[in-house]
């Protein structure tokens, strides 16, 4: 069918041509889609609001040979809290980018859609970087890549103490004797304990978590390393986000 409907989140938006935008959408029914929104950079465009980054909207799309075109868009939620706070914008960018690099086009992932939508709402109420880290762990779980964080994935020994080594290649923690020459990222005891809790705690309890800048950079850095290795793409927003966090 040439025309189809999708309720989707705008996870990427780039300028395209004179006044158009090339959107990457993540829809509930069809997964990731790419579509051109024509004329939406003009002030009087009626589709301008619905095609802004992170907006959740009902789209009517026209199927094209290579790219689909946005026919109509009706915004459901603009997530205005993401516009008003720098840290929330950076965290939402990290969430959207991770979703983008970890999914392929036209592959329905309803569980990921629900997770992403939930976390975009959640950014209003919790530390945005706590939400970003927790989202990453849950996304890894859905994709089947959740790192083992309790025992060494090589020898099975319980990992405890002040330092742990996370290996993307091994798929989880390594004890100091199994680490050998593998590329790893180091986690301190506090960071590891927090990561264990972030992966399993109920979403509505995330507002209770607090961390300092050092722990935040350590956990986000470890997750960035792990996700980049698993999905074999660079996470630009995660890297530049670390530089921007004051």
């Amino acid at each position: 069918m040439a025309v189809y409907k999708a309720d989707a989140i705008v996870i990427r938006s780039r300028e395209y041509g004179e006044a158009d935008k090339l959107l990457t959408l993540f829809s509930r029914e069809r997964g990731k889609l790419e579509a051109v929104a024509k004329g939406v950079r003009k002030p009087k465009s009626t589709q301008r609001g619905g095609t802004q980054l992170f907006t959740y909207a009902d789209f009517l799309l026209y199927k094209g040979k290579s790219l689909d075109t946005v026919n109509q868009v009706h915004p459901r939620e603009s997530f205005i809290h993401l516009w008003d706070d720098f840290d929330r914008t950076i965290a939402a960018s990290g969430i959207a980018e991770l979703l983008d690099i970890s999914t392929t086009r036209d592959q329905p992932e309803p569980e990921l859609f629900t997770l992403t939508l939930g976390f975009l709402f959640l950014l209003k109420y919790v530390d945005p970087y706590i939400a970003q880290a927790s989202y990453a762990l849950r996304l890894l779980n859905i994709h089947g890549y959740l790192p083992g964080l309790n025992n060494c994935v090589e020898c099975g020994a319980t990992v405890s103490g002040t330092q742990a080594f996370l290996s993307a290649e091994a798929g989880g923690l390594l004890c100091s004797s199994c680490k050998n020459n593998e590329t790893v990222t180091m986690l301190n005891g506090g960071g590891l304990a927090l990561m264990r809790r972030l992966k399993s705690v109920e979403i509505d309890k995330l507002d209770r978590f607090r961390w300092n800048k050092k722990m935040r950079l350590e956990i986000l850095g470890s997750l960035c390393y792990f996700c980049e290795n698993k999905f074999e793409r660079k996470l630009k927003a995660w890297r530049s986000g670390s530089e921007l966090i004051v």
Binding site: R12, K44, Q52, W83, D84, I90, S93, L244
Partner: protein
């Protein structure tokens, strides 16, 4: 790839045109054939491009495109140097100048922060901005009202506020001739926030 059947120089011309934004291979071919058939126009175009590339540079003060350095606005004696307006692109300076309402000076960022595209503060013309604030009482941030534009505005405000500079953001709201019915939630919220007494 039709241009593979053309002579090398013509293929190169078509490929060069197709690299321009908004120009596809068919349009590139049409432009190339037009110029071959209108050699005067072609020579004029070539001269204009060469001159522009030779003469136009970025103003070392504000970052706007200019022939003379500093640019006319930075060198202008009648400009109010206590008000500085930050814009995204040189085209935005023209848009603001056309209103004849703003008499201050400008600073062109040449982009906005875009974490997902890997554009951070070091890719923008931000370092020069901090050197220009000595006599500035107010900084108006006039970048586009997109998520990236807002993030850039918040980032600049975060840097400038500790320096004691007043930082303002241009108002957002409904465009002249626009329809309230088609306006989105963010625009209407901003329009209500920026309402004024009649």
């Amino acid at each position: 790839m039709d241009y593979l059947y053309y002579p090398q120089a013509l293929s190169d011309l078509i490929i060069s045109f197709s690299r321009l934004p908004g120009v596809g291979p068919k349009t590139a071919g049409r432009l190339a054939f037009y110029l071959l058939q209108h050699s005067d126009d072609a020579e004029q175009l070539a001269r204009t491009i060469t001159t522009a590339l030779r003469e136009i540079r970025q103003c070392t003060v504000c970052g706007n495109y200019t022939e003379a350095d500093p640019c006319k606005i930075c060198a202008g004696e009648r400009r109010d140097r206590t008000v500085l307006c930050i814009v995204e692109q040189p085209r935005d300076v023209v848009a603001l100048e056309k209103t004849r309402e703003f008499k201050g000076i400008y600073h062109v960022l040449h982009g906005v922060l875009s974490p997902m595209e890997g554009i951070g503060p070091e890719q923008l013309n931000l370092a020069n901005l901090l050197k220009r604030l000595d006599n500035v009482k107010e900084v108006i941030i006039a970048v586009n009202p997109s998520v990236e534009g807002e993030a850039t505005a918040l980032y600049i405000a975060r840097i400038l506020k500790p320096l004691g500079t007043k930082v303002t953001r241009i108002a957002h709201g409904l465009p002249v001739g626009g329809d309230l019915e088609y306006a989105d939630e963010v625009t209407i919220t901003r329009a209500l926030e920026g309402r004024r007494q009649l």
